[in-house]
């Protein structure tokens, strides 16, 4: 195996193994090391190996000795009431992806109860709800179903077996004499039966069975069935409770003045005008993320707090920060030097020199804000020996640890209540728990000022857009050597951009970060599905005072664009059909790419006549273990790009809920299109220049293409879904634009005048 790609094949193997319930081939010691870096928070000493009673087959012995056995007791996940209502407790954050519906589907498939009786709720922060890969409770990396598929079914099957045992004990028969049917245990060949509700109390007290049989997927009745969301009823009448909606007796609202340059510190506060705003109660200095110091205005509601914040007269000690134009110059200069780090080498990197033809292209991608519909917020109720935090967060146990540290408490004194989140797209998974820790710091400052009350910190939209943790700005330089027939014989690729993982606890996880290489900066390039016999990928990570973070599909947001527009360009240069060219260039082992391309070709009626002024473009990309191909139909109308129609084909393994597959791929298209058409955060002297939707536009209703999703039939274990729909849309649109305009767009967002 090529050594350069180890990081990624490890991750592939790991995720595939998890989805299929196999042992986990990862170093436990590395995970425990990460624990230390998270201030005791990230892993909290839970060892690796989810094998054992409820983790499928036992995990193989790990480095450092046999792993502790991990038991996931059904009682933590399933509550059955005497009224037969079945409540599934979900350890993930519901922020649009449908996890409060699909996790129950996995459990109920094996539990065998009536779907109409099922509801779902968010779990408290507890490592019983850990992600079995990272041993923290978090939602991200499109991993929820992938890593829970076997685990949740096993929990459901164990619960069913416990219910059967409870009935057998009551009847004094052996468990093999009983069976279940939709929430009822009955005696085989007898007349006795008991409902789950009648048995639940006894059943949940029984030992968890060491070994349970899972259903043959051929007999699934719930998994694979299009299932409407369980959370719709409360989301159409305003009753669903988001973090923003938390209301507590005596609660205050805080709006903060954060430094205009990241990491700045307040030096002088004139708060006379702020205090004069009716309803403003206090103006307090608070420590902020990244060593900053800011000012919190405390009031009885958002409006006075916001008015008070705007009335502050402040002076800051500001660190240096970038100006976008000069940062681009700096990156361009870095593109002209060899990358200091090599992420992958295949064959002979010098083959470029002997190629018949060469193409060289530079690409440019801006910082992007996540801009979820619900601006960031968190509520903290700090007492002398306890803390409760309410938040829509993707990282409950890490938040718990970091909130405890900020409050000077132990993690078990901190309760995290997960609320619905109005989107997140990565922003609510912050390794520094910035918005949670900040709320704790405000609560602490209030206590010190003698205000003993819970506080909700609300970010305005402007605070949210200017709050940092962006998708990094990136540049790529690619040099391709072609043979006489237009086939690439050499491919040299340099990526310049900030590392997302450097300086976070994830830096200690070799699956993600190894030998100085942040896998998230080169994913989607190093694992190219195309046959590139001489291939080299280098990276250079500048240090810039702008916090960066994962943004729906992470590195694939830019790598897919480069790979799939450039391959399209090679196809055009060779005079070949773009789909035919890709199919010919694909490594024969990449059967999923092939299947997705072939499905999208037929469903998009590729090659059929289009109205005048329209063109199609295609892209295919694998991310988070799923392959998505998209064909976009595009026109340019009075200087405006219109995307009329998008046809998608996805191989995500077994589709647990086809409605969710459809929704998430469509959602990925909308999200990626927003960025491709409009998304750009720029800075001047470290200050972010955008602030709200008028200057950071996102896709609107009348711009949404008619989008269809087609699922490649598969009986393989499920793979990622939240993110893979995003990467292909920008290159698919760019490839259509190239056909329409004759120009190759190497910079995002699209600029028709400057291509």
């Amino acid at each position: 195996m090529d050594p350069g790609i180890e990081v990624h094949t490890d991750r592939d193997a790991l995720l595939t193994a998890l989805a299929s319930g196999r042992a986990v081939p990862v170093s436990r010691r590395q995970f425990l090391k990460a624990t230390g870096m998270a201030g005791g928070g990230l892993m909290l000493g839970i060892g690796l190996g989810q094998g054992g009673p409820l983790g499928g087959r036992p995990a193989a012995a790990q480095e450092g000795g046999a792993p502790p056995t991990k038991v996931y007791p059904p009682a933590a996940f399933i509550r059955i009431g005497e009224d037969e209502r079945v409540t599934i407790i979900v350890g993930k954050l519901e922020f649009g992806q449908g996890i409060l519906t699909s996790m129950p589907m996995l459990i109920v498939e094996e539990l065998d109860c009536d779907w109409d009786k099922v509801r779902a709720e968010h779990a408290p922060a507890d490592l019983v709800y850990e992600n079995p890969v990272f041993h923290a409770q978090f939602t991200g990396g499109s991993m929820s179903i992938m890593t829970s598929y076997t685990q949740m079914r096993t929990i459901g099957a164990a619960a069913r077996q416990m219910l059967m045992s409870a009935a057998a004990q009551r009847w004094g028969v052996t468990p093999d004499k009983v069976a279940t049917r939709r929430g009822v245990v009955f005696e085989k060949g007898g007349k006795r039966s008991l409902t789950y509700g009648q048995l639940a109390h006894d059943a949940m007290g029984l030992p968890v069975p060491a070994d349970v049989a899972l259903k043959d997927p051929k007999t699934f009745t719930r998994i694979g069935k299009p299932t409407r969301r369980l959370d719709s009823p409360e989301k159409i009448n305003g009753k669903a409770q988001f973090g923003m909606d938390v209301r507590l007796p005596d609660m205050r609202v805080a709006v903060l003045a954060r430094p205009p340059v990241f990491g700045g510190k307040i030096t002088k506060v004139d708060d006379a005008k702020a205090r004069a705003v009716p309803g403003v109660e206090a103006v307090l200095q608070v420590p902020l993320d990244r060593g900053g110091i800011g000012v919190a205005v405390i009031a009885k509601g958002y409006w006075p707090a916001h008015q008070g914040r705007d009335a502050l007269d402040l002076q800051w000690d500001l660190p240096a920060g970038p100006t976008t134009a000069s940062q681009l110059e700096q990156y361009r200069a870095m593109l002209s030097q060899p990358g200091p780090l090599v992420a992958r080498t295949v064959g002979d990197p010098n083959a470029l020199a002997g190629a018949a033809k060469r193409i060289e292209a530079d690409y440019e991608f801006p910082y992007l804000a996540h801009a979820p519909m619900e601006p960031l917020n968190a509520t903290a109720d700090l007492k002398a020996d306890s803390l409760t935090v309410w938040s829509g967060t993707q990282m409950q146990t890490l938040d718990q640890a970091l909130a405890a540290k900020a409050a000077g408490l132990k993690p078990d004194q901190v309760k995290i209540v997960t609320m619905f989140a109005g989107g997140g797209f990565g922003r609510r998974a912050n390794p520094n728990s910035d918005f949670v820790v900040e709320a704790v710091n405000v609560a602490k400052a209030m206590r010190q000022a003698g205000i003993e009350a819970p506080v909700k910190v609300i970010w305005s939209r402007e605070d949210d857009i200017r709050g940092g943790y962006y998708r990094p700005m990136n540049m790529h330089r690619v040099r391709v050597g072609l043979d006489q027939s237009g086939v690439p014989v050499a491919w040299s690729h340099l990526v310049v951009g900030q590392s997302i993982l450097k300086g976070t606890p994830f830096e200690a996880v070799p699956l993600l970060f190894k030998d100085g290489i942040d896998s998230t900066s080169v994913e989607g390039v190093v694992d190219t599905p195309y046959r590139l016999p001489n291939f080299r990928v280098e990276v250079n990570y500048p240090d810039i005072n702008v916090p960066v973070l994962w943004w729906r599909s992470v590195g694939h947001t830019h790598t897919a664009y480069v790979m799939e527009t450039l391959v399209d360009e090679l196809a055009a240069a060779a005079g070949k059909d773009p789909i035919e060219y890709r199919l010919a260039l694909l490594d024969p082992a990449q059967t999923r790419h092939r299947a997705a391309l072939e499905l999208v070709r037929s469903k998009s009626r590729w090659g059929s006549p289009l109205p005048a002024g329209r063109a199609r473009g295609v892209a295919v990309h694998k991310s988070f273990e799923s392959v998505v191909a998209q064909v976009a139909e595009v026109s340019v109308d009075q200087g405006r790009i219109r995307v009329h129609k998008v046809t998608c084909a996805i191989d995500c393994g077994r589709a647990v809920n086809p409605l969710t597959v459809d929704a998430q791929v469509v959602s990925g298209v909308a999200f990626g299109l927003s960025a491709a058409l409009y998304g750009r955060i720029t800075l001047k002297d470290g200050r972010v220049e955008q602030s709200n939707f008028p200057d950071y536009p996102v896709l609107r209703f009348d711009e949404m293409p008619q989008t269809s999703v087609h699922i490649v039939p598969s009986s393989a274990a499920p793979t990622g879904l939240g993110e893979p729909g995003t990467p292909p849309i920008a290159p698919a649109v760019a490839n259509a634009l190239a056909r329409l305009t004759g120009k190759r767009f190497r910079r995002l967002p699209f600029d028709l005048s400057a291509a």
Partner: protein
């Protein structure tokens, strides 16, 4: 003290008259169904009806709403068109994160109260001020058409 009529009930409100209606609803009256998204009438999450018209409550001073009839998402189920729209939302499995949906539904109710048979252009015009980051737009369009069919039946 201001008197505000919300969902058929008149309530006294002790707020600065310049306070946006949104924050009176959320912070003074505890009605959190109406959402805060941008504060500048650019996203539609805060959409409510004032005298039957869809308005952005984040940018409407409460004094401008006093004396009028305010309807919020909390009253949608008790409204004939509102109920039909909500049922269409469930049938079409519209929601994802759900944060924008109160505003989307109030905008859709506003549209269907004035146009019983909206064209695609009518739907575009009525809905393009309501942003959704999950990209539920296609299902919203389908649900509005579905609701229009139900109302015509």
């Amino acid at each position: 003290m201001l008197q505000l009529k919300v969902n058929g009930k008149t309530v006294p409100v002790d707020a600065d008259p310049n306070t946006p209606l949104l924050w009176v609803l959320r912070d003074h009256l505890g009605m959190t169904g109406t959402k805060f998204g941008c504060g500048v009438a650019a996203c539609g999450a805060c959409t409510v009806h004032l005298n039957g018209n869809a308005v952005r409550s984040c940018s409407l001073p409460v004094s401008a709403a006093a004396g009028g009839e305010v309807m919020t998402i909390e009253a949608a189920a008790g409204d004939r068109v509102g109920h039909v729209v909500q049922q269409a939302w469930i049938r079409n499995d519209v929601v994802q994160c759900g944060y924008c949906q109160s505003g989307q539904i109030m905008a859709a109710i506003g549209l269907l109260k004035t146009k019983r048979h909206p064209t695609d252009a009518d739907i575009d015009a009525a809905m393009s001020g309501n942003l959704c980051r999950c990209g539920t737009y296609g299902r919203i369009r389908a649900a509005i058409k579905d609701a229009a069919r139900s109302l015509a039946a």
